[in-house]
Symmetry: C2
Subunit: 208 residues, 2 copies
């Protein structure tokens, strides 16, 4: 939860509706078309109810993104593999959902607004990277992965593959992609974890 959210008593139903509207508007129209008025209209709330909760549109947008960002969190009893499978699949589904363009667009546009960029990294990216790295370290401690495993490479490969898969699939193949999403995500996670696991078996890699 973004800390710039104001002290307004929580009404999760309203806040989720506003966040959903914010992602849809930002995803479709970008930073130039993103403002409290458009979001209030789409969410069917007053502009005041936005001002009471968020100090500006940066705080609103980053809070909305943070709500849907499926950073892996350790679930008791769930292996690294199952956690990655579940999180990668929800990441893929989110890119395809209404407003799914918003995260990608924010990556593109945030560098042009340093304050937005800082907030985005602080509230979304950095916590997600930290939580995911910790998951990999836990798997190392549990002996599921060798100590030399590169957490950044593992995380980037799994979540980057999902992103690239969505980006590179033309519109007419999307239904097929959705149908095969679970198999695809399983292939990617297992390939990545095997590659991390067998690090010592073939240090120089294969495919030479």
């Amino acid at each position: 939860m973004v800390r710039t959210a104001r002290g307004r008593p929580r009404n999760p139903e309203v806040e989720n509706r506003i966040a959903t509207a914010a992602l849809a508007i930002y995803g479709d129209h970008g930073w130039a078309g993103f403002n409290f008025e458009a979001v209030a209209r789409a969410a069917d709330v007053s502009r005041d109810s936005l001002y009471r909760r968020w100090k500006d549109r940066r705080a609103l947008l980053v809070d909305a993104i943070a709500r849907v960002e499926p950073a892996p969190t350790s679930v008791d009893g769930l292996s690294l593999r199952d956690t990655l499978l579940r999180t990668a699949l929800s990441s893929l589904e989110r890119y395809l959902a209404p407003g799914g363009n918003a995260l990608l667009r924010l990556y593109v546009e945030a560098p042009q607004d340093p304050e937005l960029l800082e907030l985005f990294h602080r509230e979304v990216i950095t916590p997600a990277v930290r939580r995911t790295r910790q998951l990999v370290r836990d798997a190392v401690d549990a002996g599921s992965l060798p100590a030399e495993a590169n957490p950044t490479a593992i995380i980037d490969s799994v979540f980057g593959a999902v992103l690239m898969h969505v980006l590179a699939t033309p519109a007419e193949l999307r239904p097929k992609m959705v149908e095969q999403a679970e198999q695809y995500v399983t292939d990617v996670v297992d390939m990545t974890l095997r590659g991390a696991y067998y690090r010592d078996a073939s240090p120089g890699g294969t495919g030479r």
Copy 2:
């Protein structure tokens, strides 16, 4: 080369200058700020010299992207591993170069203009995916990878990891990222190829 380029006699130096300017302008300002006048000014050429070569701004933008898109092509004597290493590293460098935002922005914005989307897929994405898949199939034929290797998963993992790495690295860590880029890319490519290679050794994956 995009086929909509017109019959103007080639002057590669001028065309590269225009393409570089087009990527910089599109990367910074997006589709809304992308037009022949701005590109002509930035490239220090007349608008006529753009109209003679490209029928519209869609053709110009997609042609400019196609020129810098480092789709892996098989180089005689180079293994799949070395080809992927070289191409992934050049992909990372391109994201960081001036105009490096352009490809990512086009992924975000093209879906809102069906004609642009179709051209982008036809001239850039589909050929790149096909060429890269062929490289993986060649490695399978040569016995470097098992027949069950999933070319899409391999390609998405390597190039998606590079993209995610750039996106998730905050500005202040970029110099360090650049310094360690070769090691990072090597880790990712080797992990991915080992994961594909050892498919049969541990079909269900590790990290359970």
